[in-house]
Symmetry: C3
Subunit: 315 residues, 3 copies
C-alpha cells in the first residue's frame, strides 16, 4: 500500500480488515515494526479522536510521532501554482510537503472541505499535493471528500457484531446547525459498497450525496420506511452537495429518536463522533445499549495500527 487516502488505495480491503481485527486482540503486536521510523501528523483542521488514536497507533508500533498544527505552529500555505506570493501565505505546499516528507517516513494529513467551491474541494488539492510532493506514503486523517480511517473503523465495528446474515445498514442524514462536509458520508458509502452488507441511504429531498459515490446504492427520502428491518443505523449530517455547502436546518424531525429506532430490527446505532446530542440523536438512543459509538471510536486505534503497519511493511 503506497498511500491510504481512499478505498482504491487498498489492494486487499478484507486483509486490511482482518489485520485491524488482529490489532483489537493484540494491541502490542508488531511493537517494534516502526522502531526508528517517524510518523508526522499534519493538521490543517481540528481533531480529537483522529489525533489521539493515530498518535497512539504510531506509538504502539514503536514509531516516533511528530504533530504539527499548521496554522498555529507554523503559517498558512499556498496551494495555487504560479501565483506571486505577496499576501498572507508564507510558504508553498511544494516546499512544505517536500520538507515534511524529508523529515518523516509516513505523513498523516487532515484537511477539511472549505464548502465554498465544490470543484476545488472535490479535486482534493491538499491531499493530492502531499501525494505529489512529499515523496513518502500519505495517510488521510480525513480529507475534503473522504475519511477512510473512519470508514475502515466503521466496517470493523459492524464486522464485530457477528451478524449471521447479510445485515441491512442504513446511512441516514440527521440534522445539524452548521455546514459539515460530505466526507464521512461519501467514504462510508464507498467502503460499505465493498462490504458484505445491504446498504441504504436515507436523507431529505435535495440532500443527495455525489452520484459518483452513491452509484447504484438505493436512496430513500422517508426515514421511517428506510429504518424498517435495519440492523445498523449509521447517522451523519452533511451539508448540501447540490446547493454546495448549504445547511438544511428545517428537517429537525430527521433526528434519530427511540421512536424511530423502534422501526428497526433492534438495530445498533453508530456515529463517527463528535455528535450533537438531541440534535443529531436523542440522549435515549445514544445512552442505550444499542449505541456502539464508544467502541466504534475505540476501534480507531487498531484500524490506524493496521493501516500504518501495512505501509511500514513495504518501506
Amino acid at each position: 500500500m503506497q498511500h491510504f487516502t481512499s478505498l482504491s488505495d487498498v489492494a486487499n480491503p478484507s486483509a486490511l480488515l482482518a489485520e485491524a481485527a488482529l490489532f483489537v486482540q493484540h494491541p502490542h503486536q508488531k511493537s517494534h515494526l516502526g522502531k526508528g521510523k517517524s510518523l508526522g501528523l499534519i493538521f490543517f483542521n481540528a481533531s480529537l479522536r483522529t489525533r489521539m488514536s493515530t498518535q497512539r497507533a504510531g506509538q504502539l508500533l514503536g514509531m516516533d510521532v511528530t504533530i504539527l498544527n499548521v496554522s498555529q505552529d507554523s503559517w498558512q500555505l499556498e496551494f495555487e501554482d504560479g501565483t506571486v506570493m505577496d499576501g498572507a501565505k508564507a510558504e508553498h505546499i511544494k516546499e512544505a510537503a517536500a520538507v515534511m516528507g524529508s523529515y518523516c517516513d509516513i505523513l498523516g494529513i487532515r484537511t477539511f472541505a472549505g464548502l465554498k467551491n465544490r470543484i476545488a474541494d472535490y479535486a482534493e488539492h491538499v491531499m493530492t499535493a502531499f501525494q505529489q510532493y512529499a515523496g513518502v506514503p500519505i495517510v488521510s486523517l480525513e480529507s475534503a471528500t473522504r475519511h477512510p480511517l473512519q470508514s475502515l473503523t466503521d466496517w470493523l465495528t459492524i464486522h464485530q457484531q457477528g451478524f449471521t446474515h447479510r445485515p441491512k445498514v442504513v446511512l441516514t442524514w440527521a440534522p445539524h446547525p452548521k455546514a459539515l462536509p460530505q466526507a464521512v458520508g461519501n467514504s462510508f458509502v464507498e467502503w460499505m459498497q465493498a462490504a458484505e452488507v445491504d446498504l441504504t441511504i436515507a436523507h431529505p429531498y435535495g440532500m443527495d450525496l455525489s452520484p459518483d459515490f452513491v452509484k447504484n446504492t438505493p436512496v430513500m427520502y422517508n426515514q421511517d420506511i428506510a429504518f424498517e428491518g435495519a440492523d445498523v443505523i449509521y447517522a451523519k449530517n452533511w451539508s448540501s452537495f447540490k446547493d454546495y455547502g448549504h445547511v438544511n436546518d428545517k428537517e429537525r424531525d430527521w433526528q434519530i429518536t427511540a421512536e424511530k429506532m423502534a422501526h428497526t430490527n433492534n438495530a445498533k446505532f453508530m456515529h463517527c463522533l463528535p455528535v450533537r446530542r438531541n440534535m443529531v440523536v436523542a440522549d435515549q438512543v445514544l445512552d442505550s445499549p444499542q449505541s456502539l459509538v464508544i467502541s466504534q471510536a475505540a476501534n480507531r486505534i487498531p484500524t490506524a495500527q493496521a493501516v500504518l503497519a501495512t505501509i511500514l511493511e513495504t518501506l
Copy 2:
C-alpha cells in the same frame, strides 16, 4: 489509588510522600513501569510547569504521552445534561471523556474555575465528569477548587527542609491584579492539615477561603503578627470566595517584602509559580537564599512520578 484529585483519594499520604522523596534521589527508578502504557494530558487551560513536569514524569516512567489542548486542537465541549446541542459546543463530555479513556491508560485533566458561579465551580463538573465517564484513573492537573499535585510537591519541599521541630507554616494571601481561583490555597490547606506542621492562614478581611477547607485552622488578618516565628511563608493570591471571583486590589501592602520576612524565624519563602514580581513578592525576597520556588517547581517531576507510579502499580 483509583484517582488523584484530592487528598481523600490517597489511602496513605505519608507513603506517597516517601515515594516522591525516593524519586528525587532516583529519577530513573521504575523506568519500565509504564512501558506500553499511555498517559493523556488534557488541557482546558494554560500550563507551563504542570504540562512540562507531568509529561516528563510520564516519560521517565516509560509511558507514551499524548497532549491535547482542548479548545486549540479540538473543539468546545458541552457539560450540561439533556441540552439540545445546537450552539457552539460540538461534543458532549460523555462521549469525549469515554473516548479519551479508551485511548489512554491514565488521564490528566487541567481545568480552571470560571469564577462566575461558585456553586458550579465547587461542584467540579469537569473533573467529576471525567471520573464518571472516562473509565480510567484521573489525575488532577489542577481543577476548579484543588491542585493536589502542587500540594504534594509543597509538602515534599517543606519535608526536605529537615525541620527538627514542628514548623510554623503561614499561608498568606498576597496582592494580584487579576481574578485567580482559590484552588492552590484550598489544596495547600487540605494537605497541610494532614502534615506535621502548625498551619496559620493570613489574609485581609473578607478574603476568607471556603470554611469547608479552613475548618479549625487559625486565621489571622494581620500579616505582620501572623509572620512572627514562622518557618515557612507560602504566598498565594486568590480572589474572593464570599463575593465570588471579586479581585481585591486595594491591599497592596500584603506584598511579601524583606521587611515582612524579617518578622519571621528566618523563614523559607514558597510560591507555586507563576509569580508576579514586585506585586505578590518583592525581588529582594524572591532572589534571596530563603526562596525555595525553583526547587519547589523542580519537585513537580518526582511528585508526579510518585502519583503516576502508584496508579500504574494498580493497573
Copy 3:
C-alpha cells in the same frame, strides 16, 4: 560545547561540520546517546522546519522531546528587571527559564526580533536570559539576530557540492512584502566568513546588514555584477538595519530569476525556506535542478543531531 547560539560558541566548527556529515550517512548512529535525557523545545514564534527537524534529531538520539508554544500553551513572560508585574505578563523569565532548565537536560529556544527596537533586539534579551537563568545548555532555534542551526546546515549543504575550487558564494537580498529579521543573513555571513569560500553580499543601497557582522566581506549594490562567476546564490530577504525594521518593497527587480542565474557559473540556488515563490525567487529557478532548497532543509536533521550529540557528550 556549553551552548549553541552563535559561531563563537563552537570550539571547532570543522569538527562539528564533519559530525553533521557523518549523521547524513548514518542517521541512526548514537541512537542511545540521549537515552533518559530530555530536550525541551520552547517556541516564542512560529516554526515548521526547525520544530520538526530538531524534534526528529532529538528522537533519533534517543531523547525524550517536550515542546512548549509559550503564548498558546502557557502565558506571556516578562523580561524586564525590577518591574512591577501588574500587567499582562504572568511570569518572569527568571523563574520560567530556571524551571524549564530544571525539567530538561537541553533547551532549544526560538525567538524572533521584534523589529521595533534595534538595541533591544541586538542585545538578545531572550537568548541571554535563558543562558543566564536556565542552568542547562541552550540551543538557539533562531534568535533575534542569528540562526546558527540554519547556518551550519547551509555550510553542510555547500560542503556536499564537492567544489574542487574555493567557491564563490553570493548572499543576495531579495524582495519580500513583510518585515523580516536580519538573523539568517547575519548568521550566514558569520559562518561563511569562517568557511573556505569567497563570500560576497549583494543588496540594494541602504539595505546593509550590521557592520559588526559584515566586517571585511565585499558588498555590491548591483546584483547582476555580483552574480558573475558565482557558484552558489543564497537568497534571503531582510528588513532594514539602518532604518530599523523598514520594509523595502520597491526593489522587486531583485527577485532571483532564470535570467539572473544565467550570469552565474551555473550556480546552485539556496534559501532557508519558507520562501515566497515569484516574489523572492521565480518558479523557474526554484523548480530547476540547480535548486538545493529541499536537500538544504533535509540537512537540518543531521545538523541538529551533530549539535545535540556534541552537547550530550559533555553532560
